[in-house]
């Protein structure tokens, strides 16, 4: 093969963004042009994308709940079931746990084993309180004959709220593992990266709870005010 064929074809319209000459410095354009990002960025970014995919699961469940909201099949409606006082307590627990989780981040930043463990333990206790309140609510619904099998509306309710509860439970398991890791291994870099992901997860669950609180409980208690 001759060299003639292999010469780079001219690029008059700069479609390929060739530098003006072979010796010109590379044009640093766009994101990531300086080479691979550091590990912390990569881990955090990847976890953000995981959270987005998780949010899509919740979006599907929210959409389903909206469609099935009125399909009570003659069973109890949201107005008859929802108790805003219980929901307010749950919300308080979860928001407070987010606060203690943020405190744990600060403690990790300060490399304080004691305060990290204390803040994470508080986060876990508040999470457990939230879960027990939710379990009590679910149990009272079932006791009143309003279990998930009663109607499509209740199937959608239990699945949406329960999916959040399952996430919180998984978060608790993760939290315990995190505490053990900090205790056994100290503030190693890869463990701090994992902790970054955990805090993102915990805060994201809060955001989803805010949506559940508003769209499920608030709207469900006064549907005539919000829905056509």
């Amino acid at each position: 093969m001759s060299t003639e064929v292999l010469r780079a074809p001219p690029d008059p319209y700069h479609l390929g963004h060739r530098p003006a000459s072979a010796n010109a410095p590379p044009q640093v354009t766009g994101h990531g042009a300086g080479g691979p990002a550091p590990k912390r960025i990569v881990v955090g970014y990847g976890f953000w994308i995981f959270l987005l995919s998780d949010v899509v699961i919740f979006a599907s469940l929210f959409a389903t709940y909206a469609v099935l909201f009125k399909n009570t099949a003659g069973g109890p409606t949201s107005e008859q079931l929802y108790d805003l006082r219980n929901t307010a307590l749950e919300t308080a627990c979860l928001l407070a746990s987010t606060f203690t989780c943020a405190l744990a981040s600060i403690a990790v930043g300060e490399r304080s084993q004691k305060w990290t463990q204390i803040a994470l333990a508080c986060t876990g206790l508040l999470g457990a309180a939230f879960l027990s309140l939710e379990a009590r609510e679910f149990a009272s619904f079932v006791a009143r004959g309003a279990g998930p099998s009663r109607s499509a509306f209740l199937s959608a309710f239990f699945t949406l709220v329960g999916c959040h509860g399952v996430h919180v439970s998984a978060g608790m398991l993760w939290l315990g593992t995190m505490m053990a890791q900090f205790y056994a291994k100290g503030f190693r870099r890869d463990i701090r990266h994992r902790f970054l992901c955990f805090t993102l997860f915990w805060h994201a669950l809060d955001i989803i709870w805010v949506a559940i609180f508003s769209l499920v409980y608030l709207v469900g208690t006064e549907p005539r005010q919000f829905l056509p």
């Binding site: 690029d11 390929g16 072979a22 990002a37 599907s60 959409a63 389903t64 399909n71 699945t159």
Partner: protein, 666 residues
């Protein structure tokens, strides 16, 4: 103790699944015994099963895809064979078995053939093209692969233990509800797809992070190779669409297991919810498969035309436009289900609009070839065969996108012919083109060209003989999934289709022979330069097969076609050997059995859930959690390759490359 599982689950009275299952089990057992006797187990465990190297994982994905292609193709032969003989008779497959076969065929071909093939090629090539050492999360990548394999295993276990779904490749309720499908078939389907779906989402996360956050210095977005762009689009779609599938199948499972009422026809359930949700995943899924395929064609066409890709930027825009519009067309899968003329019109128009960026791509490939020095190698033949066939498949798609026409064509063989006409030339041909094109990169020797061309022509002709009749009988009113029929008009066409599938069988046989023959004659077909096709992107800038760290020194990208540029500058300056770089020790991730062990527990849990063996479900979940904790507990996630070792490997590569450049310069 064993839930619903008993001896009745083994289909002793149905010879076909029993014998085929027994044959598969014997082959598997034979392979296992051979592997153990030859002492390959430690090697396989160390180098492959626990490997977190993206190239190895990519190869394993493609191996899985190839095996599943054979399984899905055997289903296809049985389906075509049944319709060829079941004229005024019941044929040789009873309806319950026929229904399982068409369900398994679709499920396997989409989830366990096309997906692993495309993801495998992305694994093998994307990090190399980006000029980096691995994906963002190597161990997660291994987990993804093994979860996919676990799903495939569950589908195939259903052949011998129990039954597979009879509700088609998507389990439409209310048919898929417990009341109408009380067996374990739908459960096999759901749990297999859930397990492999988790793996796919993790792949999406991994690749989006890799492509957006890990590129060689200087590789800005507009310098990314087209295959990386399409891989990015495809993985963005995975992240946005696969969770919908997971949520939808979870709702169906709740209906089936815990008496919920999402999609039932009682207690206020709404089965149309399922149609909307499943196709909100299902239509993007089409583009998850076909966008990377477009990327493969872009690479192949540009390399074998000796020209840069025509209209790079329009190609990027077209890819991202498809990525977005693909979420706005799902309703065209059920125009006939009563959404009303306004809604149908909106989705019909959106479905036609999505053909526009695809058309842009076709023109770009044609103009890339125009005026180039085209080398008609088999990857290019696959690409040309694709362009011609896919245009026809795409145009029939525009036909069914017209709601009023769709009322006639819905659920007919015309529709089935349409989607086979897009997905076989679109995805399968691309998989073969990519397989041939990148095979030397993966294994260090090329595949036999003569047999490759035979395979191409057999596939192209076989495909058209098998599926052109589908359009005809579809217009004559034949609906899909008919176990038997009595319309004499259809008979000759269905016999012709059976002939087509025989030609395809010959094509596959030639491909198997091509692989065996190429391995036998590998010494004559070694790729010593790392660049057998005079390629243009960074994957050709390293040796074939690449060292575990891919690049001794991360390449500095100054151009849209980095490696082509390097070659040109070297030739221009006649400075064939660049000064040796300063070698540094390289940190690479350590191998880990996490993926394999997780998949083992996922398989156990899935199987236990299917058969309601609750204690085993709990054990499986605990096992999976313990695996993660052990993984999190390890102290040395990485190992270091010393600078001398890097230098030794790279010097050999540089020498071969210098010889190659000298030869090019002559």
């Amino acid at each position: 103790m064993l839930g619903k599982l008993s001896w009745q689950a083994i289909p002793f009275n149905e010879p076909i699944p029993l014998f085929s299952g027994a044959a598969v089990a014997l082959i598997l057992l034979g392979v296992l015994v051979w592997v153990v006797l030859r002492g390959y187990v430690p090697y396989l465990w160390r180098e492959w099963i626990t490997s977190v190297d993206h190239k190895r994982i990519g190869i394993m994905y493609m191996l899985l895809a190839a095996v599943m292609l054979l399984r899905g193709f055997i289903d296809a032969i049985m389906l075509r064979g049944q319709q060829a003989v079941a004229f005024h008779s019941m044929g040789y497959l009873p309806p319950s078995h026929f229904d399982q076969i068409f369900s398994a065929h679709g499920t396997i071909m989409i989830f366990f053939m096309a997906m692993p093939f495309v993801i495998g090629l992305m694994n093998l090539i994307v990090p190399l093209q980006l000029g980096v050492r691995d994906v963002a999360f190597p161990t997660l990548n291994s987990v993804s692969f093994w979860l996919n394999a676990a799903g495939a295993l569950l589908v195939n276990v259903s052949l011998v233990i129990g039954e597979f779904s009879r509700t088609g490749w998507l389990p439409y309720p209310p048919l898929a509800e417990l009341r109408y499908s009380p067996g374990v078939g739908v459960d096999y389907y759901c749990w297999a797809i859930q397990i492999s779906g988790i793996g796919t989402v993790m792949t999406g996360i991994n690749f989006v992070t890799t492509i957006l956050k890990m590129r060689a210095p200087g590789m800005s977005y507009t310098r990314m190779p087209m295959f990386c762009w399409t891989a990015l689009a495809s993985n963005l779609l995975i992240i946005a669409a696969f969770p919908i599938l997971t949520a939808t199948l979870a709702m169906l499972l709740l209906d089936r297991y815990l008496d919920f009422h999402f999609f039932t026809d009682t207690a206020g359930g709404n089965s149309m919810m399922f149609m909307n949700l499943i196709w909100a995943w299902g239509h993007p899924e089409v583009y998850i498969l076909v966008l990377p395929a477009f990327g493969i064609y872009s690479e192949v066409v540009s390399t074998f035309s000796g020209k840069p890709l025509f209209g790079y930027r329009s190609m990027v825009i077209a890819t991202m436009a498809i990525c977005i519009i693909s979420f706005m067309v799902w309703l065209h899968h059920f125009f006939t289900m009563g959404a009303g003329p306004e809604v149908n019109a909106v989705f019909g128009i959106a479905s036609m609009i999505i053909a526009v960026p695809t058309g842009v791509k076709i023109f770009n490939w044609m103009f890339t070839m125009y005026g180039g020095r085209v080398r008609f190698t088999s990857p290019l033949l696959w690409s040309i065969g694709f362009m011609v066939s896919f245009v026809i498949g795409g145009l029939t798609g525009v036909l069914v996108a017209i709601p009023s026409a769709d009322f006639q064509l819905h659920n007919s063989l015309f529709l089935v012919a349409h989607f086979h006409n897009t997905i076989i030339p679109g995805v399968v041909f691309a998989a073969f083109a990519g397989y041939t094109y990148w095979f030397p990169k993966a294994f260090g020797f090329t595949l036999d060209e003569r047999l490759g061309k035979w395979a191409f022509w057999l596939w192209l002709i076989g495909f058209w003989v098998a599926w052109a009749p589908g359009y005809v009988v579809g217009l004559e009113g034949m609906t899909r999934r008919l176990q038997h029929y009595d319309d004499p008009q259809w008979r000759p066409w269905l016999l012709l289709a059976a002939l087509g599938v025989t030609i395809l069988l010959a094509g596959i046989a030639v491909q198997i022979w091509q692989l065996i023959h190429s391995i036998r004659t590998r010494e004559q077909r070694r790729d010593l330069t790392g660049d057998p096709w005079n390629g243009r992107n960074l994957e050709w800038a390293t040796s074939s097969p690449p060292p575990v760290f891919n690049f001794a020194v991360l390449p500095n990208v100054t151009d849209q076609e980095p490696y082509w540029d390097v070659k040109q500058q070297a030739l221009k300056a006649l400075q064939l050997v660049t000064p040796e770089p300063q070698y540094q020790p390289i940190e690479m991730p350590r191998n880990s059995p996490t993926g394999f062990v997780t998949a083992f527990f996922a398989t156990v849990t899935g199987f236990a859930l299917i058969w309601h063996i609750w204690w085993l479900v709990i054990l499986g979940l605990i096992g999976a959690y313990v695996t993660f904790v052990i993984f999190a507990w390890r102290d040395h996630p990485e190992f270091v390759i010393p600078a001398e070792e890097v230098a030794r490997l790279d010097r050999a590569n540089r020498e071969a490359r210098a010889d190659y450049l000298r030869e090019l310069a002559r």
